[in-house]
């Protein structure tokens, strides 16, 4: 099984981290993974995106042309990437910043006011964790257990209350993802 993801949004929304944590957890589960960010001045003020591949086989190209899953945190990301989602693929988007949504009917679309929910949980910053949760809930591309372990290790003892909030956001996301 190979899952190809694109996460895209504004520079500060933490899309690179979404890909990174997924790849990290996938790796912990023994899968092959790759993570390829956009970089350079295009990022300054503009949009950022990252291609992540998680696969049981060796990964040929880390460039994702036709994502199985697209996480779009703002409208420009939908315009740019939604047309190339594989038929039957998944689009996850943030209604707070994607007022026009997506017109495709051959894909599975999950949307939520992610900014609002994140704020509710405690901080707009956990928006990316929410997105991770939705992906896990919807696809089980990686397990919650792996993600929790990885995150716990990453945040370490540094700020336990932050870890708590992040895990809460993931769990909330999983709920949304399961629908």
């Amino acid at each position: 099984m190979t899952k190809e993801l694109i996460c895209a949004g504004f520079g500060g929304q933490g899309v690179l981290t979404i890909g990174r944590f997924l790849a990290q957890a996938g790796m912990a589960e023994g899968k092959n993974v790759s993570w390829l960010p956009s970089y350079g001045p295009e990022m300054r003020g503009g949009t950022a995106n990252v291609s992540t591949v998680i696969s049981d086989e060796a990964i040929a190209s880390p460039i994702v042309s036709y994502p199985d899953i697209l996480v779009a945190l703002n409208q420009p990301s939908i315009e740019k990437f939604a047309p190339s989602i594989r038929p039957g693929g998944i689009l996850i988007y943030n209604t707070n910043m994607c007022p026009h949504g997506c017109k495709r009917d051959d894909i599975d679309i999950i949307s939520a006011p992610m900014v609002d929910i994140a704020k509710e949980i405690g901080d707009q910053m956990v928006l990316n964790m929410l997105a991770i949760g939705i992906i896990i809930g919807k696809t089980e591309i990686v397990s919650y257990a792996a993600m929790e372990k990885d995150l716990t290790q990453y945040m370490g003892g540094r700020r336990p209350e932050l870890l708590e909030m992040n895990l809460k956001a993931i769990k909330k996301g999983i709920e949304i993802g399961k629908g």
Binding site: S34, W35, P62, S65
Partner: protein, 359 residues
């Protein structure tokens, strides 16, 4: 050791340190800056030298000086910065010094852009500097391979006393993949490495040693002496051409109707396309040169199976390795080329479409 998810730029830096690299001189440039920044953080921790040079020209000449002392030394840059190193590289080759140079290629010519490209193949493999010399050129296609090549590069450089280039690109530099590192060399092992060059390198006279007068030099003002010197270097190159050809065969079989040749990042995309076409029952093989100099001419020739009617070269340039493929194929079947330039990376789908046109 457990796998770590790491950027190529950082992985190769870590691997170089583990391989005993204790001197690193470079100048910042995108998309290799994580490499210099990693070295800035880590070299002090192993009592190594990190020094940001005032330019790429200075950096390569610092490498010349340190390599002349027989120690493992490295520099890295990206395309325009590598062009500035050409004179220095020619000197290093001429003086027969071991050194490792990394080029994380970006789009050109000129200032170009900072996206991945393979436009420096000619420069790396045919000697962008003046005079007759060759670099051993390793072309990674994954973060793991990029990292592994650090120690290979140092081994080759030491073995042949010749500069070795790792020819990567912005994608390999910027992407993260799981990577597993070799155990770091111990201080004793590193001291041992340095000793292998004691017959020629710059070093103090030790008590009891015979006094030596070593010269690090590429000048021979008498042409007959220079001829001798260059011939000696080329005898070494013949040796390298015999020993150090490395390539990967992917899906090569007698059923192949097309033989692809691609290197580095481009090869991964071609593999994706081959996998896709396999599902549609099409048999396509791939030769991926791992070392692009010395070049696997014979491997390319041999891989042309009985049913192959077309050799197809894909590169992220205007067709540079293409020349070498043509030389390898030597007229047996037609050779076709398709590439993308300017830092645009082709997609598996595009390659697939190009290959389908051949059936």
């Amino acid at each position: 050791m457990a796998k770590i998810l790491m950027k190529g730029n950082e992985a190769v830096a870590e691997a170089a340190i583990r391989a005993g690299c204790r001197l690193y001189f470079a100048y910042p440039i995108t998309p290799q800056s994580e490499l210099i920044e990693y070295m800035a953080r880590m070299m002090p921790k192993v009592n190594g030298t990190f020094l940001q040079a005032e330019s790429e020209v200075s950096a390569i000449n610092m490498v010349y000086g340190a390599a002349g002392c027989g120690k493992r030394v490295m520099t890295s840059s990206s395309s325009p910065g590598v062009s500035l190193k050409m004179e220095g590289i020619s000197y290093i080759a001429g003086a027969q010094l071991p050194a490792v140079i990394i080029n994380v290629q970006r789009g050109g010519p000129g200032l170009g852009d900072i996206q991945p490209a393979q436009g420096d193949y000619f420069q790396a493999t045919k000697g962008g500097g003046h005079g007759d010399y060759r670099l051993i050129v390793l072309a990674p296609a994954s973060v793991q391979e990029f990292a592994d090549m650090a120690s290979e590069a140092f081994e080759l450089a030491d073995k042949y006393r010749n500069p070795v280039m790792i020819l990567a690109d912005g994608m390999l530099g910027q992407m993260m993949e799981p990577v597993e590192f070799k155990a770091p060399k111990t201080d004793e092992e590193i001291a041992e490495l340095w000793k292998q060059h004691k017959d020629w390198c710059i070093q103090p006279n030790e008590d009891g040693d015979a006094k030596h007068h070593h010269e690090i030099n590429s000048l021979e003002i008498d042409p007959l002496m220079l001829e001798k010197h260059v011939n000696k270097i080329y005898a070494k190159y013949a040796e390298i051409e015999k020993n150090e050809i490395r390539y990967e065969e992917y899906n090569i079989s007698d059923d192949n109707e097309i033989l692809c040749v691609a290197w580095g990042t481009a090869s991964r995309i071609v593999k994706s396309a081959i996998n896709e076409l396999k599902k549609a029952g099409k048999s396509i093989g791939l030769i991926r040169p791992i070392n692009v100099w010395p070049y696997p001419y014979e491997a390319v020739a041999k891989a042309i199976g009985p049913k192959v009617k077309q050799v197809y070269v894909f590169e992220l340039n205007t067709g540079q390795m293409l020349d070498d493929v043509k030389i390898g194929v030597n007229g047996k079947v037609p050779v076709k080329f398709w590439g993308k330039v300017g830092g645009v990376v082709f997609t598996p789908a595009e390659i697939q479409a190009k290959l389908e046109e051949c059936f």
